[in-house]
């Protein structure tokens, strides 16, 4: 599914990713952990095509297709979704309007017919109920005045509505209370399927108790410096990143 090889990238001219290699096969969930400033969010922005994040070497493909050659919105239409570490506020655009515009734009790009208004509302009610989101909140301007946890929950709601194939969750657990963490994790787990894959960026083992990863990677100094099974997360929780800081 996702294949990243020897990726080098700069942010506003400063080298951040320095030869990152990573493979996430379809059906798997991979976790990425690593110290602050290691380049985890940078990786998520490079994969989704944010301006100012320039690839200087290496590449990334999704199902063999060169991801980096596509526009940000084209990547989304191919099924790449990023749950932002810091979701943006969209003043004046109700959440539902925003999501319907996005969904229809993706469908158009894939040559599929638009979703009808009743079908969209039905889907929205269903997904909102599953994530315990008050439907009235979806009529408010997206993320404007939402609490930190509400914004994160709204990211997962958007993910459920857009039904992407490759999911990147950047610290979706930060800001969530204990109940919300469970609800959101259930929402994410509901999306696990043999033809989807996920990259879960987190600092805490707790999230991985809910969303069980197939593989855990340590990202430090702009590279993957260690990979292992779920037990690696437990080890990091216990020992920290000291030994990897040297490897980086």
């Amino acid at each position: 599914m996702l294949s990243v090889s020897n990726l080098h990238a700069t942010v506003d001219g400063k080298p951040i990713l320095k030869g990152l290699t990573l493979d996430v096969p379809a059906g798997e969930v991979h976790a990425i952990m690593g110290p602050n400033g290691a380049g985890k969010s940078t990786l998520s922005y490079v994969l989704t095509g944010r301006q100012g994040y320039d690839v200087t070497e290496g590449g990334a493909t999704l199902d063999g297709e060169d991801l980096l050659a596509l526009e940000a919105n084209e990547r989304a239409a191919k099924g790449v979704f990023l749950s932002f570490q810091y979701p943006l506020e969209i003043p004046g655009v109700p959440a539902l309007t925003f999501i319907r515009t996005a969904l229809n734009a993706q469908k158009k790009s894939r040559g599929e017919p638009e979703i009808t208004a009743p079908a969209f509302l039905k889907l929205a009610r269903e997904k909102a109920a599953a994530l315990k989101i008050d439907f009235e909140m979806l009529k408010r301007a997206l993320n404007v005045g939402f609490s930190g946890g509400e914004k994160k929950r709204m990211e997962i709601f958007q993910m459920a509505m857009l039904s992407p194939r490759f999911l990147i969750l950047d610290e979706t657990d930060s800001g969530l209370d204990i109940d919300a963490l469970r609800i959101v994790s259930e929402g994410v787990n509901a999306m696990r399927s043999p033809d989807r894959a996920m990259l879960v960026i987190t600092h805490y083992q707790r999230l991985l108790d809910y969303i069980k990863p197939d593989r855990v990677h340590v990202l430090a100094g702009g590279r993957i410096v260690a990979s292992g099974g779920p037990e690696l997360a437990l080890e990091l929780e216990r020992d920290g990143y000291d030994r990897y800081a040297k490897a980086a």
Partner: protein, 340 residues
């Protein structure tokens, strides 16, 4: 010195210039070397106006003339006032509007031109006690036109005045409103939207003078300037001595979508009274690139995402229009200009 006098006498020396403090960004004297001849009377048929379908009562002035709208005490009405320039001449119009006590008027005012005309409209608007006027102005001038509209509004206690001026610029376009506010629980809404592109110019100038206690003024102006366009906002609220407990809020926010576009803003609050609640905000900036990326990450192509964000930005002014049908016309008008 006035535009009306210049048109009447054909003396360019009468035109306001850079040296007049509140015309320094809309220097007509420096622009116009020779005033065109007086516009000829128009005999053809007019294409439909923007508010035709909403109003039963129409006042149409083509190439100048006078109009009078009276709403008797306690009456309620909806009027379309259409000011049209045809050809390349110069002309002036005069409009007098009177609302009796408790009268209510929805005024749908529009400006149109089709060439390098020079025109001026003077409106004198008076509201008696308890009267309510909502004035929606749609100024869609020709790129070569010089178009000036100047309204003098006099409010009485407990009157409600609301206006939303929507403009797309001209060679020079000036929309000026001066309100004499008696306080006395009267209220004024002084909103505006401008969307300027190419080499167009628009100028929103408003002055509200609070002369008595307990008055309210609320102003929200938002605009978008692209290409080499230029927008001017000059908003002044004067709270005179003794106009205590005035509540005045002013906001002007502009998006500049190109390096060569320009927005000049001069928001002013002059306060000579006590216990006044005043606030003003003024921002001029570029599109929020982070929000744009967020929308694109969700699958919305860039031009559509830009249009969506600018429409939402402007929409916050349009939402303040009381009359729902007019709100729809304005929203559609804005959407057509933003989805390019």
């Amino acid at each position: 010195m006035s535009v009306a006098a210049a048109i009447r006498t054909r003396d360019v020396g009468e035109l306001p210039s850079r040296r007049d403090e509140d015309w320094r960004w809309t220097d007509l004297r420096g622009l116009i070397r020779v005033l065109p001849d007086a516009s000829e009377a128009f005999t053809g048929t007019l294409s439909p106006g923007p508010f035709d379908r909403l109003a039963a009562d129409h006042h149409v002035l083509v190439n100048g003339g006078d109009a009078r709208i009276d709403v008797a005490a306690g009456k309620k009405t909806l009027v379309a006032l259409r000011l049209v320039s045809r050809g390349v001449g110069a002309h002036a119009s005069r409009v007098t509007i009177n609302l009796g006590a408790g009268a209510r008027l929805r005024l749908l005012e529009s400006y149109e031109s089709d060439g390098a005309s020079v025109c001026q409209t003077a409106l004198t608007i008076t509201l008696a006690e308890g009267a309510a006027l909502e004035r929606i102005v749609l100024a869609q001038d020709h790129e070569d036109a010089v178009s000036v509209s100047q309204a003098e509004v006099r409010l009485s206690p407990t009157a409600d005045f609301g206006q939303t001026i929507v403009a797309s610029g001209a060679r020079r376009q000036r929309l000026e409103t001066r309100v004499v506010h008696p306080g006395g629980r009267a209220s004024a809404r002084m909103d505006g939207v401008y969307l300027v592109a190419d080499k167009r110019h628009t100028d929103h100038t408003t002055v509200v003078t609070h002369e008595g206690v307990d008055g309210t003024t609320s102003q929200l102006i938002k605009g978008v300037a692209r290409d080499q366009a230029r927008a001017v906002f000059q908003g002044k609220i004067i709270v005179s001595e003794g106009a205590d407990r005035t509540d005045a809020r002013m906001g002007h926010h502009a998006l500049i979508l190109s390096d060569r576009a320009e927005v000049d803003a001069k928001p002013e609050l002059e306060i000579y009274a006590d216990d006044v609640s005043c606030a003003h905000g003024n921002t001029v900036g570029a599109m929020d690139e982070d929000a744009l990326f967020y929308a694109r990450q969700r699958g919305i192509p860039e031009p559509e995402a830009r249009a969506m964000l600018t429409e939402a930005f402007i929409g916050q002014v349009i939402d303040r229009i009381w009359f729902e049908d007019a709100r729809k016309v304005v929203r559609k008008w804005a959407a057509e200009r933003l989805r390019v």
